[in-house]
């Protein structure tokens, strides 16, 4: 790790370690299974067993590797969805009346890079706010909190959910799910580029049209039928994948966990620009939007936090 973060080494932030592993593997210095070796054997065995009991046991039991005496093979997996549903920070209200969100599904709190330990505090603070927001909206009986559907929309939604059950020769939903995963791993990986993202988008669009004729896997049962559930989940997976790819293409810079090899530096002009994905008659549209200024008390807190570091350390 001294090549990537001489000061903090292996204790560097997650995005830097992930990119370092990625670089090492691409340079041909990876481990046999395509990761790298993490060696903690300089620590005493008792310390490792006490501090990392689950990791110690899992490596020993599932891989037959004793991490107190041998290096372990590691590779980065998905970090966190920093994007998500746009919410009002005080109440957790989304732009859909009556729908409230908090946690990883909600966007904005962690900027471009959630740091370790922050999702728990996110849940505690914004889970409380969203719960209170939802309760207040329900009690107020305001029409803004009440979603409105007409019967046709409800009928369409039910028909759409039930449709895969009737397509006995439709494609296997698990197969489509696996292809979405593969597409996103290949085209929106730790370090992306415009061409890869664009090619990924073309594949996702194609998977989208295939999913419209997807079956439930051959069984018509409504009782705990995971094949049918997977068929229903595909739409959400595809919307998420498309929003991620389109936003990644639009954001022509590297920032936090979003690293582009064709735009490797951070563009300060984009410091306060968010990208929002919206549904339009012509499909999904991604638009840049100026982030509203921070409330005074938050701006003050951020200023304090920054003041503790010298400009060099801030880099």
């Amino acid at each position: 790790m001294e090549r990537y973060d001489r000061e903090r080494m292996e204790l560097s932030s997650r995005d830097i370690v992930a990119r370092a592993i990625n670089s090492e593997v691409h340079a041909g210095r990876g481990s046999p299974h395509g990761g790298v070796f993490l060696d903690i054997t300089h620590r005493k065995a008792d310390y490792i067993k006490q501090k990392l009991p689950s990791m110690y046991e899992q490596f020993l039991k599932l891989a037959k590797v004793d991490i107190t005496s041998q290096p372990m093979e590691v590779a980065p997996t998905i970090h966190y969805a920093m994007g998500g549903v746009r919410v009002d920070a005080e109440t957790g209200a989304t732009t859909v009346p009556g729908l409230f969100a908090a946690g990883e599904v909600a966007a904005g709190l962690h900027g471009a890079n959630r740091l370790g330990g922050n999702s728990l505090s996110d849940l505690l603070v914004f889970g409380k706010r969203a719960g209170e927001g939802a309760a207040a909206a329900a009690k107020s009986g305001s029409s803004a909190a009440e979603p409105r559907f007409d019967q046709r929309e409800i009928d369409d939604a039910i028909a759409g959910l039930l449709a895969p059950l009737d397509r006995s020769d439709g494609e296997n939903p698990y197969q489509l799910q696996a292809e979405i995963q593969e597409t996103m791993s290949n085209h929106a990986p730790i370090v992306r580029d415009g061409r890869g993202l664009e090619a990924g988008l073309a594949k996702i669009v194609e998977l989208g049209s295939r999913s419209e004729s997807c079956g439930a896997g051959g069984s018509r049962t409504l009782a705990f039928n995971p094949g049918w559930h997977t068929a229903g989940d595909l739409h959400s997976m595809l919307v998420n994948a498309e929003a991620l790819l389109r936003s990644g293409m639009e954001r022509k810079e590297s920032r936090g966990a979003h690293a582009r090899s064709d735009f490797p530096t951070t563009d300060e002009q984009l410091d306060d620009v968010n990208l929002t994905a919206e549904k339009s008659p012509d499909g999904m549209v991604v638009k840049p939007q100026r982030r509203p200024p921070l409330p005074a008390y938050l701006a003050e807190a951020v200023r304090h936090a920054y003041a503790r570091y010298t400009p060099e350390e801030r880099e």
Partner: protein, 255 residues
């Protein structure tokens, strides 16, 4: 890299009945039983019902009985078994479908346990609470529980005698122990232990400790100390004699 084929027998059916169905699964290096079950689901039986989530032995969802033993499927390497593996749902709970059981009785029991209750002084205090390190470590062991309910499944009081109305089961003795042994808690749950929780029904066979994927010493560190606490107030012969002499002083725990 495929090594060989495995005959995986999975119990399929619902509360109305069912049978073991055999599936042939290609085995890959490092595969666990959950991988094999999910391979069957993706390729041979799309409606095979199974609960799973983290695949890292932390969410407690994929509990089942492998070769008759309650296990987490994600923590059971294929290589530990032969070429024929049998997976059944947990027996102690009502079956929903295939490998999925209704464990909601456990959540009802959980709600019936009076929660952590510190003193008013502690609640009002703006100072951080101070606890001895040994008290912290005792609580940490109990809080490792991931609520997989394998201990409930293996316990013969629940499994064979279905004593759900009079016995809370090992999982909840662990929870009660974590509260009773918390130095900042003020409640006395001994009447509950003697009454509805029915700790006296446990006859210390230690099966629960044996199946716990978090290796909590359920019997030694939770149940036996709770039994001792309860016996101390209800079944101590010296206290009994003193009570007879002193003329019917009510038990503190009976308030």
């Amino acid at each position: 890299m495929q090594i060989s084929d495995l005959e995986l027998r999975i119990w399929r059916g619902d509360a109305g009945g069912g049978e073991l169905i055999s599936y042939s699964v290609p085995v890959r290096e490092g595969m666990v039983v959950l991988d094999a079950v999910l391979w069957v689901q993706a390729n041979l039986a799309s409606d095979l019902a199974v609960r799973w989530n983290c695949k890292a032995a932390k969410c407690g969802s994929c509990s089942a009985e492998i070769q008759g033993f309650p296990r987490l499927m994600c923590k059971s390497p294929i290589a530990e078994y032969g070429e024929r593996i049998t997976v059944r749902p947990m027996k102690a709970f009502p079956l929903i479908k295939d490998l999925v059981t209704d464990v909601s009785w456990n959540y009802d029991v959980n709600k019936a346990i009076p929660p952590f209750t510190p003193s008013d002084d502690d609640l009002r205090s703006s100072e951080p609470w101070r606890m001895q390190q040994k008290d912290v470590e005792r609580a940490i062991e109990f809080r490792k529980c991931i609520e997989c309910f394998l201990c409930q499944d293996v316990c013969h009081v629940l499994r064979n005698h279905d004593a759900k109305g009079v016995f809370y089961g090992p999982r909840f003795f662990v929870r009660i122990a974590s509260l009773e042994m918390h130095p900042k808690d003020t409640l006395d749950r001994r009447p509950l232990l003697k009454g509805k929780a029915g700790v006296g029904l446990c006859n210390v066979t230690k099966c629960c400790s044996e199946v716990c994927p978090e290796h909590i010493k359920i019997t030694d560190n939770a149940i036996i100390p709770l039994k001792e606490r309860m016996d101390d107030v209800y079944f101590d012969p010296v206290r009994w004699a003193l009570r007879r002499l002193g003329g019917g002083r009510k038990l503190r725990a009976n308030k």
